[in-house]
């Protein structure tokens, strides 16, 4: 019913507002089951189409033959498929094939294991080398450190010695007067003059 309404409404819309020249379609089943029969169809007897008996017989025979042939063909094809499947699973060559496959599998697995061993050895060797190199570098770094510390120590000792030497010239309460007299007697002059050729002149006028 709803479908009818929908199609009806569509058709009605098409009829009412034809934008382009659209062909009018015949709607099947305009009436529902409960609607009364039309007056023009009153007393109508539905008669099936006439059948020619000779033609019917001929056709029947031909159809049976045809269907027989087709059925036989279908069954043959199905049988062939089943046979092939059966042979593949449990045929004469199935065992040989299975053996070959398993041998191949074994061979490949053996090859794979060998390759793995190779790579393992290479990896172990590489790691060993790297470790040794790292050890070497560490040792060298430690040596360098030691050397630097030694050098520093030597430097410091030199400085201390230098300072000890200088300390003999420091001013103390005893030589204070002497040093003052020396200083007053010897005036120092740090002024100098330079020219572009690099000649240095230290004799300047002390005002």
């Amino acid at each position: 019913m709803f479908q009818l309404i929908s199609t009806r409404s569509v058709q009605a819309a098409r009829l009412l507002a034809p934008r382009s020249a659209m062909p009018l379609e015949a709607v099947r089943g305009r009436k529902s089951r409960a609607d009364p029969v039309a007056k023009s169809k009153e007393g109508r007897m539905k008669v099936p189409p006439p059948v020619d008996p000779v033609e019917m017989v001929v056709l029947h025979e031909r159809y049976t033959e045809y269907q027989l042939i087709l059925r036989a063909l279908r069954l043959e094809f199905k049988e062939e498929l089943l046979r092939r499947k059966y042979e593949e699973e449990t045929g004469s060559q199935a065992e040989e094939k299975a053996k070959q496959e398993s041998e191949e599998h074994c061979g490949l697995m053996a090859w794979n294991n060998q390759e793995n061993l190779h790579l393992l050895k290479a990896r172990v060797a590489r790691i060993q080398k790297e470790k040794e190199e790292a050890e070497c570098r560490k040792m060298e770094a430690a040596l360098q450190c030691e050397q630097k510390q030694q050098e520093l120590l030597k430097q410091k000792e030199k400085e201390i010695l230098q300072l000890q030497e200088d300390a003999k010239n420091f001013i103390t309460l005893e030589n204070l007067d002497q040093r003052i007299e020396d200083a007053l007697d010897n005036p120092q002059n740090y002024n100098f003059a330079v020219d572009k050729e690099g000649r240095v002149v230290r004799r300047t006028l002390l005002q």
Binding site: D166, N169, F170, I171, L173, L176, D177, R179, I180, E181, A183, L184, N186, P187, Q188, N189, Y190, L206, Q207
Partner: protein, 110 residues
């Protein structure tokens, strides 16, 4: 201990008074725990400009350099003391830096 240099400008005085001032200064230094290394005289000369200190106008002065080792905390006290000294025109304490290692510096090449 860090190393300092006292650039001292004294009033233009006679020799014994200058000696006395110097002695006074060095003794002050040593009292405060400094180790005096060297004392240099740069001579009596004309000051670069006239300086007024302790109600006196100074035109000439005697320059002295005292380098010493000391702790840094005594310097303010020392400078106070020197500013109050009548014979001192200008005391200046500078720090002596360590010698820069003359390595091959990258400078403009001729």
């Amino acid at each position: 201990m860090p190393r300092y240099e006292l650039a001292l400008i004294l009033k233009a005085m006679q020799r014994p008074e200058t000696a006395a001032t110097l002695r006074r200064t060095v003794e002050t230094l040593m009292e405060r725990g400094a180790v005096v290394r060297n004392l240099e005289n740069l001579g009596e000369r004309l000051l670069p400009y006239k300086m007024t200190k302790h109600d006196q106008r100074h035109t000439r002065g005697t320059y002295f350099l005292i380098d010493f080792y000391s702790a840094p905390n005594i310097l303010t006290g020392l400078l106070d003391h020197l500013h109050r000294d009548v014979d001192v025109v200008r005391p200046t304490v500078l720090r002596k830096d360590e010698q820069v290692r003359r390595s091959t510096c990258c400078g403009p090449q001729q």
